[in-house]
Structures are given as C-alpha cells and as structure tokens.
Symmetry: C2
Subunit: 760 residues, 2 copies
C-alpha cells in the first residue's frame, strides 16, 4: 500500500496548480473548485460551485465528455437547511493517491488492485451546514460520496431526496430494468434512454412485491453504451444505513437524477452526523470486457470487517427446490387448513397432502446423489411449519425458523448428510416480515449451529413488514446487514434472495456469499434469451448472484403436466454459466434424475470450480455473448479426484477449508496432498450467447506455454436451438496448448463450456 | 365454577322463549335476534338485525335506556366483503351462564367473582363471510366482541374501520381526554359531550409524541354521568393483536363511534381467522363507588397464562429519577458531543458534565435510605450509554440496554443493594424504537438475570420506529405484549411507561405489574387539581398505574432554581394516593432529603401495604373526591417490623415471595413468623380531594367488631391549601373501633391517610 497526500490551500489560487483543470471548458458551471485525473491520466473529474453555490461535477475520458456538468446535493425535510445551493468552499481541498493490492476471501481473482486518486472538498453554508464531497478516480471510473462531519449545524437531518445528477449529454443505448422500490426481478430491455418512458410499463412482469415510481425510472447498475463505443456503467457502492438509489431519466435534458427509496413516512434517509452516503459510481471503459473485469464497486467498499474468515468457504450445491418451483412438489405439508397458526396448528394431526418435497426420503435421495457427485451441500426448502399460508397475506408471524414439519427429521437428516460429506443448507423464508425474522433470528441461528448448518438461504418474498417499508428503504437495508452481521457472529454464510441487489458489501462481510436480487432461473420460461448476457454487466457488478443454473430438462411439462412453458436456452448455455457467472455459491438446480440422464454433460458441473485466482474476459458484447476463462484459485486437480471433503461433525480438517475445497481434497487430506493436487494446472472456459447466437474463436494463449492440456469441450450440437432443440449438445475431447484457437458456435441462446487439464 | 349451557334453535320462534326480550320496545331496529339479562336482572342487552342485515344492540338498566339501538360491524379493505350489512342469522344462538371466583396474583382483593350471562350470535353473509357476536352481561355492565371462525370465506382481511356505535341518546356529562394515537398524557376535562369539539384542541398540552385525529375524538376509559345519576363507563378489554380504540362523538346523533388507531399503511387491524376483537365494554352502575369496585375489565380478560407466578411480587420502591425529571440532575453523562454513536463514542475519554444522576455515590445514597426505611427496590434511570441525544431525534440505535456509563458500576451496585435487602430496578428507555429494543431485548433481559434485577421500567417516549406506526397501532400493541411475554420467560416484571393504557391484560400476564399511560406525577405543576380524583374512574379501570406519588417538596425551584412551578396538591393528598390509587408497584418518588425533613409523615409511606385482600370504596364523586379503605392481603404487621426481605443473590427464601412481602418478613422468616405477623389486624384508609376540597365522615364499621385499633391520622392542616400552603399537615394518634366515625377535612387538592393497627 502506497499513500501520497497532497494538501492544497482552498480558493482560486490553488486551482492553477492543477494541470488537469479545464476551467475554460466549462464556463457555465461557475468556479472550478478542484479537479483530479485517474492514475493513468485517461479520466478527469472536475468539481465546481455555480453562482448559487450549487456543487457540480463533470467526468471526461480523454477529450470525450462522459458526464456534463451535473448538480450534487440534497433536499432536506422540515427546515431551511437545503443542501442544493448556498455552498462555499470551507477549508483545504485535500488530494490523495492510494495504491494497494488486497486479497478477497473468495472471488474472481486472487488479488485486486485498488488504485485511485482522491479529492476531498469541504463545503459549508452560512447556516453552518457542513458537507464534504469525497471523490475517487480510478482508471475505469469515478466514485464520489457526500460526508457530514460531526462539527456541523446539521447533526440530525432527514433527506427528502438526493439530487445527484448524471448529465449524459446524449441519448445513449441502455440495458435497463424499470425503477422499483421492491424488486429487480425483471427482464432487461435494450433501448435508447429516451424510449424508456414508452416501454417501461409493459416490461414490468408480475412480482410478489413491486412498486414502480415513474415511467422514466430505471435501476442500477445501469449499463449504457455511447454511439462512440464507450461503455458507461452507473451504480452505487457500499449502501449502508441509507436507502437504495434508482435513477430517473429526463429526456429533454438527457440527464439521470437520483431517486431514493422512501421509508414508510416518505423520507429517504434519516441521517446522524458523522455520516456518509454510499458512493455514486460512474464506470467508463472502452470495451464490454473491461466492464466485466472492473473491480470499481468492490474497491469502493471497506476492507473485510471480520477478523476470522476461516469458516467462510465456497459452496457447490444441489437443492430440494426446483421441484417446488416447478410445482412438481410443494413447500407445504397439508391442505387441511385455510390458515395456520404457529404453535397452535397441530401438524402431527393433520392429513399430509402427499406432495411435500422436504420429506425424509426425498431429502436422502438428494443427499445420496449429491454425495456421489462431489457436491458440498443440499438446500432444502419447505422444511419448516407455516408454508400453507405464507404467501401474499402480509402475515407477520409466518415462520418460526426452528420447527420442522413432521416428515422432516432435522437431526437425523443432518447426521445422514454429514456422514456422506454433505452439509445441509438452511432455508429462512421471511415472507418479508423482517420484524418476525429478527424476533426469531437468534434462535434460528442457534439451531443451525447446533446441527452443523453453516449457510442459510434467506428469502424476502412479498410486501415488507414493518408496514409501508420497501425492500430498498433505509430500515430494510439496515435489516439485511443486521442479518449478515448477526450470522457472522454465528459463523454462518448468507445467501439472501429477494433482498436488495448488492453494492459490494461482500468485500466487507464476505459471509454474504450470495444474493439473488435479479430475475433468476426460477422464472423459467419467462426468462428472455440474452438475459444472462446482460446480468454480468448489471446485477453482478455489486456482487455474486445465486442464479441457480444447470437446468437440463427445458420442458417444464415434464416436471409438472399443467405447466406448458419451456426454458428459453440450451443445455450448453447452462453449462457455460458456471464460468461466465461468477459466484462462490453455485447450484446445480435441476433434479437428480435429469442429471442422471445426461451424466456426460453433468461431468462439467461436477468438475468446475467455484473460486478462482485468475479470470479472463475473452470476448463480450452486452446482451449478445460473453466468453470467459477462469483459473481455479492456486491451481486445480484431476477431475477423477473431484469430490468434496467429508465434513463429518466434529472432525478437524487437515487443511483449511478454502484450500481443501478448491482442490476438492477429502477432509483427511494433508499438506502433501495439496502440493500434489496443485501440480496439475487446470482452466475452465465458458460462453453464453443471446437470441442471435454467436460463433467465437477462443485463443487458448492463457495456457502455460509448452504444456499440453487435455480439453473437454461441451458445445451446442448442430441442431441446437433454444426454441426447437435445447438439449442437442456435443462433447469433444482433445489435446490443446497455448498456441491453439478453438472455434465454437453458440446456438441462439446457447453456449459452451470447456475444461482444460494439464497432461502429466 | 359453574357453567350452564343453553342452546336455542335459531330463528324467530326461539325469541319467544326469552322472557327478557322486549321486541316491542324497539321496532325501529328490525328483527330481534337475542336478548339476555344480567344475573341480577337489572341489565338487559338485546341484539337485532335491521332491514339491511346490519347488526344492532341496545343496553337497558331497568326501564332506563343506556345504549339506544347502535350499529355493529366493520368496513374492510379492498374487496366487497363489507361487514356492515347483509348479515343473517346462521345457526344456533347459544346462551350460557358463567359463575366463577378467581384469585388474582396481586390486586385489590383476594378473590374476584366473574359472573355473567352470555349469548353468542352466529351471523353470515351471502358471500360466505361469517362473524359471531359474543356478549357477556354482568350486573355492572356489558362486554361484547366479534369473533371470526376459521370456516369462513374471510380468512385474511384488513379492517379499514370498526363501526361499533354507542348511541347514548342524551348529552351526558363526561370526563374525557382528547382522542389520540400516541398518548394519554393529558389532563381531563369535565364537560358535556357536545362541548368536546370546542374544547379539545386547547386541552392538548405538549407531548413528546401526540397524534390527534378529530376535535370530537375522546379516549377510553370514558367516564360518563347521566342527568339521572347513572354512571356509564365505556372502555375495552383484552386488546391483543388489534389496535387501540378511540371514540368519536357525533353531537347531532349523540352517538359515540369506534375509531381505531391506524398502522403505517392506514389500516386498522390485519386479521387472520380464527380471531376475535377486544371486548367493547359498557359499564353502567348507580354510584361512583360502584365504578371503582367494578371488575368488569379484569373479568373479561383471559385467566393467568403463566404457570409459575411465584416470582411475581408487589414492590414498594424509590428511584434516582425525580431529580432528573426536575432537572436537578441529568440522565446524560457528558456535554462533549452533539450526537453519540453506541459502540463508537468512547465515554471513558469524554469529560463528564458533573450532573449525571446515576453515579455510584448517589445510587448508594438512595440504596442506604431505601434500605433503612423498608423499601424493596431502587429504580435508576440514566445508567446506560446514549442519553446525550436520545430524545426527539427518531434515532433508531439509541440504546443497547446493557452498557453502563463509566460512573455506574452495575455489578458492584447490585451487590451493595442486595446486601442491604434492596433490588435495583432496571430501566429500559426505548425512545419508542421498538425495532431496536427487540434487537437487544434478549441480551438486556439476560443482563438483568445475571445481576439479579427482577423488574424493569420500560419507556416509550417519542415517535415510534418502525416509521409511521403509532403507540396504539396493532404492530406496536403486539410489541408491548411481546416484551411482557419475553420478560415472563426471564422471570422479569414489567412496568411500561408511555405504552398503551391497559385493558386488563395484567390478569393474563400478571408480570405486567404497572403502566404509566396517563398524566403522572412527572408533569409536576401541569397536573390540575382533581386529576387524581378522575384517574381511578378512567385510566385505572384497565390496570394499575405507576403514578409515582409521594411528593413532599411542592416548590420545584427548591430542586431546580430555573423551574418556577409548584405541584398543585397538598402533602396529605400525596399520602392519600397510596390508598386511593391501587398499584402493586408503588413509588415514593421524592428525594431522600425531602423525606428526611418530614419523617413523621413519611412513616405512612413506610407503613402502607401495596397488596390487598379487601378494598372498600367508601365515598367518591368523579373529579371531586375519593375515600378508600384497604386491608392488606391476609393481614399485616406491626410497622416496627417493616423492612423488606433480604434478596441476596442465590439465597433461598424461607417463604414464598408474595407471602413474605406482604408481611414484610425478612428472608429467613419461617412459617411461624408468618402466623405471628398475621395475628395483628391492620387497615389503611386514604382520601384525596379536588379543587373544592371535601369534608368526609368516615365510618370505621369495616373494623373487626370489638377490637381496638391504634390509629394514626395524617390530614391537611388548618391552613393547608395547594395554592398557598401545601405542606401544612397534622398527625394525630388515637384509639378506634368499629363504632367510630372520623371526620376529616380535605383541603382544596388535599387529602388524608390513616393507618389502623390492632392493639394487642
């Protein structure tokens, strides 16, 4: 870590010292206050105060204007301390350079460089309000936030709206979902921003809880592309104790303005100095692959706050879940009651309807299959009392998170699983009653500790209780983090579904190993082709997604005769996702029997790693295709050695969890075993394509020169098409080295996957 | 317990069987459905369905009409299932008689008779909505509620408004406070109901959180008096999982209509069948003393839900509190910070402002005084971090309830207190952030258990968090009970201030030993003369109040030179309150040094019991005067034996807590000691008067005939007047028997107290 501090005297005289300052270019914005360049000099961010004392900023890439003069500030509640104008510079503008390389607990690479130039601009108003603007400029983008020091006439204040603007100056192409206070579970639209207003309503498909606010509202991360081929990505980082931001587009000014999520009283941030907002981020890069390799959001988050992370590990899992999503089986246990009351309803006396998925026999079937195929965990949903009336009732005391149904023998199933090296993954559906969840959280986590669960999938389906709050309002943002921090105290990893889309907090709290918070596989035939070619540019910018790939049976009627839809992608596409979608938590979502019918293709899912020390974004275009190559953290091992460690209760691992996992070593593996395993180099390559398909030529120049690799290539077959023949795939083995180029045709909504293992 | 069940066949034919039915009297209400008489036959309640299928009821006392035909029902949200009309009788009208005597854990008498006639009327609508009206008619009043069975087309439904009416038919005199969603801390007004609208606004004094809804809104318990001298009291019983009701008066129809407290989304009851509403109650009796002796509200609550109540005991206590209320000292510790952050602000490095009341030395001073004078407990407020900015900020994480200030040595002070037979009483000010309180509740209760606290005063000052909720909305009603039930699991007694005014739940959960929930002593000079002559008719109908009497120094400037006000009552009035106000939790609220100046008068506070086996309401008129005599539970003992049991940690009591307490026996007392103590009969008599004062002639005919009693009479002195000489009092000793009558003059806002002890 290298830190260089500049301190400049406030005022006009200092501006002349800034070689990057281009005051002459922006006469309309008033006085220049400060300007910084990115470390490589390609980006310039400048800050101004106009004649009304309103702060503004601009962002340029070389000679190109990325963000035109854009206002900054806040409208406050209930007094005259309006933070939109009246500001003057108050003290020294402080500049800084920061350059550090840090190692994530899990991630797409072993280490991440965090290199930026920073400026901090102290502002005040005559009424004594003090506000600092802190900006960090990276080679790939800008982050800035507002800070409120304790010495302030503003100590407690309520935000009516944050007024941060992003003046784009042109009608860029955008990949967007409608603005919402409660859900991101929408398909994306590609259009000009000016077209959002006309299209938005029709793109809002049914959701258990959805609250739009404007036809011109869009969510972040928002991926834009200029007609000059620049890729601009607007998002936010480190949303803590603050509501989630949407954006609202004004076609006449070509400006996006921040629109925060209101709480139950309509306010958008209850602030107590000292405090700071999340970072507003503008990534600007020259190619789609540069968006995928950017670590802007993670870098703007605080370092890991957990002292001990030894218990955090990547997870490859299966689940008693897809059969419920497809209505082949049910979360609930009985049809006896129109409503149930926990602690009153006696399930032992009710008549089972016979479709309950989380029964002992079925769970053991999944455990057996998962154990035989090298998985780490089994998620089981619908294990606990209350599923008969959990949905859509805004029922407060909906689950207690500790009481299993009569046919789910929790201690025995955990014991059975642990003996086979499988950990059960807990499921806490909150039905969005965060009040009720918090009341039972400690007992729920204690139950997990008692029986050896170390990961939980939590769910937030439906409207939030406390009444009037939203999934993205400040109190609920605080709830999600409360749940993650409380889980960390219990050494529990969290995978929260229907919560807020992430903003990089997994850097600070790496036990947040996953989120859904986007349209995932559960939407089945509603997922549009190309969707997975957009998510890595948008949703995944904030952190990994539990997308739950791996569907082999695309015809939903095979699972449930009353459902006629088909998944709109090929089987090879599903394999490719394990590489193109980064997540330390990867599911093989389909049923064991569907994998059993395609064990040759399933081999890739068995083999593929979920934690990486290098990731290469080979070729990509938003919504059209993505090709990625990844190298398992350290190295990887012979697929014949695949299989997870035995995590029998109380057994001390010979190696730390992470190392053992990556090399798929058994629990009794020694350091010597690790050395042997590391000796065999391995790469995984994956590709996914959108509606049009794509043929790519993948150069294998990332392989170690002079080394031969055995490659297994899983591709769409010649007849593959998501509409007509989604399961036509081919598997081809060959010997490859770094001089090879592999031509692969990806079918419409198709894909491919490839494993490459060093030949000894 | 005696239970007689009648089952009547539904329909008109059965009506003729009811001898009490007076269909002919009420032709305007449509078809009579059922009618019941009270056990002594004086009251009659009748139920009807009008031509629109709207249920109505009436209540008569003899030939007098108490409640004219009044509509019942609900307006629901979002569908056509409007529960205001369209009903028909659906099944059998079931009648029942119930007669049981039950023993409260603590109370005004040893046993309470619960004797009523009941009718249950099953109604349904064509859309399949089913609703039962269950009514219980006592000799002193009516209770009825709505029940929704599980077999219903209404399973989940939301109430827009409950439409229960109380058609009074005349413009009664009322003692009322303004309707509000958040506070009952108002002085009462006596006026005709028709005058409420013109007066109400001016009677709403400043409150930390207050939300009126109508100039004609009034709160319950609402005490009415007819021009014929009937006393009508309208309230509710057993408010569980339902919002608190206010009433709104319509002067043109002379009808009160139910007005429930809305939640953050404006709804007034999220219902899940099977469920029931609270009881709507109409007490109607012939005298003011009959109001005071009524147990209507307690009887309508469920029996005790706690299996083990041995740990619940009455408490006489002092507190480090009045000095803070009067600004003689402070809850807070430092002036260093405009805002504090728990876990971040380092109090050990801050500069104490020197006014912190809860410091070790001061607390020990209170412990010493309380121990020397036979008290059980010491409440200490301001002991924990966070008081610098707790008020009026709607700050969520305002207290953690476990971290003491640097100058409060929690373990050492508890040890010191326990060695002297004193228990410290915990204080949990929530600042109305119920969210934050629930997050920390388990740890907070565990801390109490660890150090031997067995009672907590909780506070709910300010606006509620979750945002948009009210002190009386359904989610917060649920919070209060959650806190009480959780406390019971920890064997902790609760005294909740600024929570909802009670509705008899202390019968079911007797660890709810107190509430404030009315204008209490803390309002000092704002309390109007006569206030304490009203509260027993209104606020105390639902359960005991921690009014905190016992102020001896009425001149507030003696405590804090910047405060000019005087308490508007006499010292003798303060003594009388210990008898006229029933509470198992009684405070001596003034400072030790003020008691030290009047040890002769203080003797009564030392002597008086706080738990009773008989209570006699000798003479009373609402707002004017109350004279009450009470007999300690079982009997009582020589005042020279006064002193509390030693509750040293871990020491096993020789007698159960309650028995030992009542007789003020030390911890090592034996059953034989108890027999001795019981042998000496004792009575306490108390009186309080309003603005006009009152002279009463108290017949001591309740004393055991033929037994001589030593009496000590504490009265207002000849010059006593709350305006000019509040501390003029006289103490007179004499010998009395059951043939004596004692004439006592109570000064304006004065009172008296008397102890009577059998002479051996």
């Amino acid at each position: 870590m290298k830190r260089i501090l500049f301190t400049l005297i406030a005022g006009a005289t200092c501006i002349g010292m800034l070689t990057c300052c281009k005051v002459g270019d922006v006469p309309e914005v008033g006085t220049s206050v400060a300007s910084i360049a990115s470390p490589d000099g390609t980006l310039t961010a400048s800050f101004y105060l106009d004649g009304n004392g309103t702060p503004l900023y601009t962002l340029d890439k070389g000679e190109g204007k990325v963000i035109l003069p854009s206002r900054m500030g806040f409208e406050l509640q209930g007094d005259e301390k309006d933070l939109r104008s009246g500001f003057a510079l108050d003290g020294e503008v402080v500049k800084d350079t920061f350059d550090e390389t840090w190692k994530p607990v899990w991630g797409e690479e072993e280490s991440i460089r965090n290199h930026y130039n920073e400026v901090c601009i102290p502002l005040s108003r005559e009424d004594g309000s003090r506000m600092l603007i802190r900006a960090r400029l990276y080679d790939d983008g800008l982050g800035f936030r507002y800070e409120f020091p304790l010495e302030n006439s503003l100590v407690y204040f309520d935000i009516v709206e944050e007024k941060t603007e992003f003046a784009l100056g042109a009608d860029h192409t955008a990949w967007w979902i409608s603005g919402d206070y409660d859900t991101q579970e929408y398909n994306y639209t590609r259009s000009r921003l000016s077209e959002v207003g006309a299209i938005s309503k029709g793109r809002r498909i049914g959701n258990a809880s959805a609250t739009g606010f404007s036809d011109f509202g869009v969510q972040t991360a928002l991926q834009l592309k200029t007609d000059d081929g620049l890729y601009i990505n607007i998002h936010e980082a480190a949303v803590v104790d603050y509501p989630t931001a949407n954006l609202e587009y004004n076609p006449s000014t070509k400006t996006l303005t921040t629109h925060l999520t209101p709480d139950a009283e309509g306010l958008k941030g209850r602030m107590q100095a000292p405090c700071k907002t999340p970072w507003r981020t503008v990534m600007v890069v020259g190619s789609a692959t540069d968006v995928l390799s950017s670590r802007l959001i993670l870098n703007l988050n605080d370092p890991c706050a957990l002292e001990d992370v030894s218990w955090i590990h990547p997870v490859k899992y299966m689940g008693v879940w897809w059969e419920m999503i497809t209505n082949k089986s049910s979360w609930s246990y009985t049809d006896d009651y129109p409503s149930v009351q926990l602690g009153v309803t006696d399930y032992s006396k009710s008549k089972p309807h016979g479709r309950h998925g989380a029964n002992n026999e079925n769970v053991r079937r999944y455990i057996d299959f998962a154990a035989a195929n090298g998985f780490d965990g089994i998620l089981i949903e619908g294990w606990n009392e209350g599923w008969e009336d959990w949905f859509g009732k805004q029922k407060d005391y909906v689950f207690d998170f500790v009481t299993p149904y009569p046919d789910f023998d929790l201690p025995a199933l955990n014991k059975y699983a642990h003996e086979k090296g499988i950990r059960l993954i807990m499921h806490h559906e909150t039905s969005s009653s965060t009040l009720n969840y918090e009341r039972h959280m400690e007992d729920a986590y204690n139950l997990m500790n008692k029986y050896g669960y170390d990961a939980v999938k939590s769910g937030y389906v439906g409207n939030i209780i406390p009444y009037g709050e939203h999934h993205y309002s400040q109190p609920i943002i605080n709830h999600y983090l409360y749940a993650v921090k409380s889980a960390a105290e219990h050494h529990i990893m969290v995978n929260a579904h229907e919560a807020v889309r992430p903003t990089g907090l997994c850097r600070t709290y790496p036990n947040l190993i996953g989120n859904e918070s986007a349209l995932g596989t559960e939407y089945r035939s509603n997922i549009e082709p190309g969707h997975t070619c957009i998510l890595p540019f948008t949703r995944l910018q904030g952190g990994p997604m539990d997308y739950t790939p791996g569907i082999f049976e695309m015809d939903m009627s095979k699972l449930n005769p009353s459902e006629s839809g088909h998944m709109r992608m090929t089987l090879a596409n599903q394999l490719g996702l394990y590489v193109t979608f980064y997540s330390p938590l990867q599911m093989a979502a389909d049923l064991p029997e569907h994998y059993a019918s395609h064990m040759d293709a399933f081999q890739f899912i068995k083999d593929v790693a979920v934690d990486w020390d290098r990731s290469l974004y080979i070729e990509a275009e938003v919504g059209q295709y993505i090709v990625t190559a990844r190298h398992p953290k350290l190295s990887t091992l012979n697929s014949s050695q695949a299989g997870v460690a035995t995590l029998a209760d109380g057994k001390k691992d010979a190696l730390s969890g992470a190392a053992r996992f990556v090399y798929a070593l058994p629990a009794n593996a020694t350091a010597k075993d690790l050395v042997t395993a590391k000796a065999r180099d391995t790469w995984y390559v994956g590709g996914v394509a959108g509606e049009e398909g794509k043929t790519v030529n993948v150069k294998l120049d990332f392989l170690t020169p002079g080394v031969k690799y055995e490659g297994t290539l899983y591709t769409d077959g010649p007849d593959a098409d998501y509409r007509t023949n989604p399961t036509d795939y081919r598997i081809e083995k060959g010997v490859y080295d770094s001089t090879c180029t592999v031509e692969v045709r990806m079918a419409p909504s198709g894909g491919f996957a490839m494993s490459l293992r060093e030949i000894f």
